[in-house]
């Protein structure tokens, strides 16, 4: 039975590749051969909220609006938007757009997509504020939120309209085509129809993915000239770099820090780096260690850690040292917050709090999740030794680490966080809000820091439609977290991509790490 199935699958695979070989014989095609460290888990863009899936979404679909490189909004499938009242936004949709299947794109597809997003276990969380979406006419939709919600446009960057007609009905196995299945096969996990610049020709998971340019792509102003993309995931850092330098591929990401210099100096490659938005930091667990309840001790820890040294030496300049959660460009970012490395001050504070002789703590960090994560943890442990804190450090692979993290298994735990909404409030909600298992607030607050006033401030900010007012509130949150030393900030991890010299990647890159490959230009050699 299984063997028969395997045979059948093999035969289907054979006919698919047979068919794809033919068009590749056509002359004068511009092909981009690229290698990320992994390929998307599925073709169902609602199955997982992850970088890989969003990168795929930007290739095969179009969002209603998308981020520009300076964190502004750019119209895509929505051409205009207006706030009708505090809780209602009306969006005008682009006309004359077709899905890959040939179906016309209408307001019903947007409604269908948002309703599916609200069913997806991964996306429903960020879409809770949206109460309903209705189609006013064929090309107008209305978003209604329960309360005034200032981040509706941020959410619209996650709405990649799917072809509702294509995904309706039942698949061959009798299951509905629109079901979202995390484990097992679903129609949507292997079939795709969006409006985007590329169609998926082939997906051999973990091995190879092939895209072809959508010949009827609506955006005729796009400078993009790539006809075909072949994506081969290469998880091994050294091999990925070697593949670029030897000319086997034209575009790779991420570029590992150890190879940055090598790639920068090579004549065969162009390197692009950008300060990222993922903050790496340590929690100090106040439930496990009484001393951490003393603000002076937390301050002392924050003063003892030298972020600049870590960014310069360990990360080889491939990180932006941080003193707060929010990276530049976010509403809550405070330009004037300084990193406070000062060993003497740290020792003084420890003495003041009555811990001049220090104490012992345990620390945990992953060793394959963030760039140099285990080494960073070692460095921090060494720095804490200077204020007589004896650190028992344990590092482990990410697969094991998150279980330990959920159990709050150590006094200090490392975590990196990227705000899915590209907004400052998200940091506090997940990382420093008073932990509450029922509401899910502070789900990743392994420090058990709790300041109800801040929680109140953030929930007020979340319904504040005046963006300037809101930014002020969020900055106040950052300032308080800094003053009370709620956590030990380290740095924002930089992003790095590299390409062959004739592939002009810089214009299509952004700090979210969603390259807009539809607009990519490859120069003739």
């Amino acid at each position: 039975m299984t063997f028969k199935k395997t045979l059948l699958a093999g035969m289907i695979g054979a006919t698919v590749t047979g068919a794809t070989l033919l068009p590749s014989l056509a002359a004068a095609q511009t092909t981009l051969r690229m290698a990320y460290d992994a390929d998307p888990v599925s073709l169902d863009i609602h199955e997982q909220l992850s970088g890989g899936i969003l990168q795929l979404s930007h290739m095969t679909h179009d969002p209603l609006v998308r981020w520009t490189s300076d964190l502004d909004f750019e119209p895509r499938l929505a051409t205009g938007w207006e706030q009708v009242d505090d809780t209602t936004m009306r969006m005008t949709l682009r006309e004359g757009v077709e899905f890959h299947s040939g179906n016309a794109f209408t307001a019903d597809d947007v409604v269908w997509t948002v309703e599916r997003l609200k069913r997806s276990p991964d996306f429903k969380g960020i879409f809770t504020p949206v109460e309903s979406v209705t189609a006013i006419d064929e090309h107008t939709v209305e978003f209604k939120t329960g309360e005034p919600y200032p981040l509706l446009l941020n959410l619209a960057t996650y709405v990649f309209p799917m072809d509702s007609a294509f995904y309706s009905g039942t698949a061959e196995d009798g299951d509905p085509k629109d079901e979202i299945v995390k484990n097992g096969n679903s129609f949507a996990s292997s079939n795709l129809s969006g409006t985007g610049p590329f169609t998926v020709v082939e997906h051999q998971k973990g091995t190879r993915m092939e895209f072809e340019r959508n010949p009827d792509y609506w955006d005729e102003d796009s400078p993009g000239n790539v006809d075909r993309i072949v994506h081969t995931p290469i998880s091994e850092n050294a091999t990925r770099v070697a593949a670029l330098l030897s000319g086997d591929v034209d575009f790779i990401a991420p570029v590992p820090p150890n190879d940055l210099e090598r790639v920068r100096e090579s004549d065969d490659a162009e390197l692009v780096t950008m300060s990222g938005t993922r903050i790496i930091f340590f929690h100090m667990d106040q439930n496990r260690v009484d001393a951490f309840q003393d603000e002076r001790v937390r301050q002392a820890f924050a003063y003892a850690v030298n972020q600049d040294a870590i960014a310069d030496r360990l990360m080889k300049g491939f990180a932006t040292p941080a003193a707060q959660f929010s990276p530049k460009g976010y509403a809550g970012h405070i330009e004037s917050l300084e990193r406070r490395y000062d060993l003497e001050k740290a020792q003084e504070l420890m003495a003041e709090a009555g811990y001049a002789d220090g104490f012992e703590i345990t620390m945990m960090a992953p060793n394959n999740r963030y760039v140099n994560d285990a080494k960073i943890a070692q460095a921090v442990a060494t720095m804490l030794a200077r204020i007589n804190v004896d650190v028992d450090l344990k590092t482990m692979p990410k697969a094991q680490y998150w279980g330990e993290f959920d159990d709050r298994a150590a006094d200090m735990m490392m975590i990196g966080w990227h705000a899915d909404t590209e907004d400052s409030a998200n940091f506090h909600e997940y990382l420093t809000a008073c932990p509450d298992a029922d509401t899910g607030a502070g789900q990743y607050n392994a420090g058990n820091y709790c300041n109800p006033e801040l929680d109140k401030l953030v929930s007020e900010a979340n319904v504040e439609v005046d963006l300037e007012q809101r930014a002020e509130m969020l900055q106040q949150v950052e300032q308080t977290l800094y003053d009370e030393a709620a956590f030990v900030p380290l740095h924002w991890q930089d992003l790095a991509w590299a390409s062959a010299p004739n592939v002009d990647i810089e214009p299509v890159l952004n700090v979210m790490n969603f390259p807009y490959l539809g607009d990519l230009v490859i120069e003739e050699e």
């Binding site: 996990s189 070697a242 030897s246 692979p397 789900q443």
Partner: protein
């Protein structure tokens, strides 16, 4: 003969049962598969629902019995990551690994026999000493280092000018230490479809090129071992009475070496070799990772990183099966080469 095979099949089942039990009992230490399946901001309630759906909350015995019941019907479950039956996933990755092992085995046999025999016949020749020296170095270099050095030399290329470039001899020496690069550094290229899930690299010169570097680095682990083994056995055989007698009889040396002595040398080599080929399948994990060769080793490492437990368990069981099969084949071949050995172990 039949009794022997039946016994071996029973062995295989026992081995697979024990492996599945061990693999299953360590799964709690392999990490939480849910973590890999959902985004970071997914609330705990959703995770719990998914965990319940996958049956991860059931007691160990319940989980194992459910698995064993399905496994008895050749249903090993679905891979969490691939969303396909694990047997299908492995069937897709197996040919790549087998081709790599086949290519490495070919290299090992083609090189180890002549080199081993030569260094036994002429133990004092400088070439023999050179081979022995290189094999000591070869045996102590880890495979991923070999692989990365090979990539740097032959895929990226090295341009090195330690000698003066203004003289002819300097240029000549510089050219000698400079490599061109250009060999494929990763993956299989566009393998040709044979049947089912089998795509082959052996069908075209371009396909073979993709095999060269991975096969060399995989072979580099076993090659020194085989050279030394063949040399040692051959030396011993050359001391034996019948070789001396053959010499005294005036039979041509070539005939003595390659017909009489080599045959007897190969007996223990087959035994060791068969087992080592099984080990080679396991070693592909490193080679495949560096070269991104889309075979079982790469798939397995990925499965571990993602806590894809069903795939891990199935892989381990299949590797166990491969070991049993190669051992059985070795015993059969041994019986053919040396008829004095009785397979069932009973006195004749």
């Amino acid at each position: 003969m039949i009794a022997f095979l039946v016994k071996r099949i029973f062995h295989a089942l026992l081995v697979m049962f024990v492996i599945s039990l061990i693999a299953f009992s360590i799964q709690d230490n392999l990490g939480d598969p849910i973590q890999q399946m959902v985004g970071q901001s997914v609330p705990e309630s959703e995770r719990e629902a998914l965990r319940e759906e996958l049956g991860l909350n059931d007691p160990f015995l319940v989980q194992y019995l459910r698995f064993a019941k399905n496994a008895a019907r050749f249903d090993f479950g679905y891979s969490y990551n691939f969303n396909q039956p694990t047997t299908e996933v492995i069937a897709r990755h197996l040919p790549a690994t087998l081709e790599l092992v086949a290519a490495a085995t070919f290299l090992i046999i083609a090189l180890s026999v002549p080199i081993g025999v030569y260094s036994a016949i002429k133990p004092r020749a400088w070439l023999s000493r050179f081979f022995m020296g290189v094999s000591i170095v070869g045996i102590s270099i880890p495979v991923f280092l070999t692989a990365i050095v090979l990539i740097q030399l032959f895929a990226i290329g090295v341009s090195w000018t330690p000698f003066p470039t203004d003289t002819a001899w300097g240029n000549w020496l510089n050219d000698l230490v400079t490599t061109e690069g250009g060999m494929p550094a990763y993956g299989r290229g566009d393998p040709v479809h044979v049947f089912g899930t089998w795509y082959t690299n052996f069908a075209s010169p371009r396909g073979l090129l993709y095999l060269v570097l991975p096969a060399i680095s995989l072979a580099s682990i076993m090659l020194p071992l085989f050279i030394r083994l063949i040399r040692a056995e051959m030396l011993e055989v050359l001391q034996s009475e019948y070789v001396k007698f053959a010499r005294a009889k005036g039979i041509r040396l070539r005939r003595i070496y390659f017909l009489h002595a080599l045959k007897n040398t190969m007996l223990p080599v087959i035994t060791v070799g068969g087992v080592q080929i099984g080990t080679l399948v396991a070693y592909t994990i490193l080679t495949e990772t560096v070269f991104q060769w889309p075979g079982m080793g790469l798939m397995f490492l990925d499965a571990i990183e993602r806590s894809d437990i069903p795939l891990i368990v199935t892989y381990l069981m299949i590797v166990g099966l491969i070991f049993v099969i190669t051992n059985t084949l070795v015993d059969l071949i041994y019986g053919l080469v040396n008829p004095t050995v009785k397979l069932t172990g009973k006195p004749a």
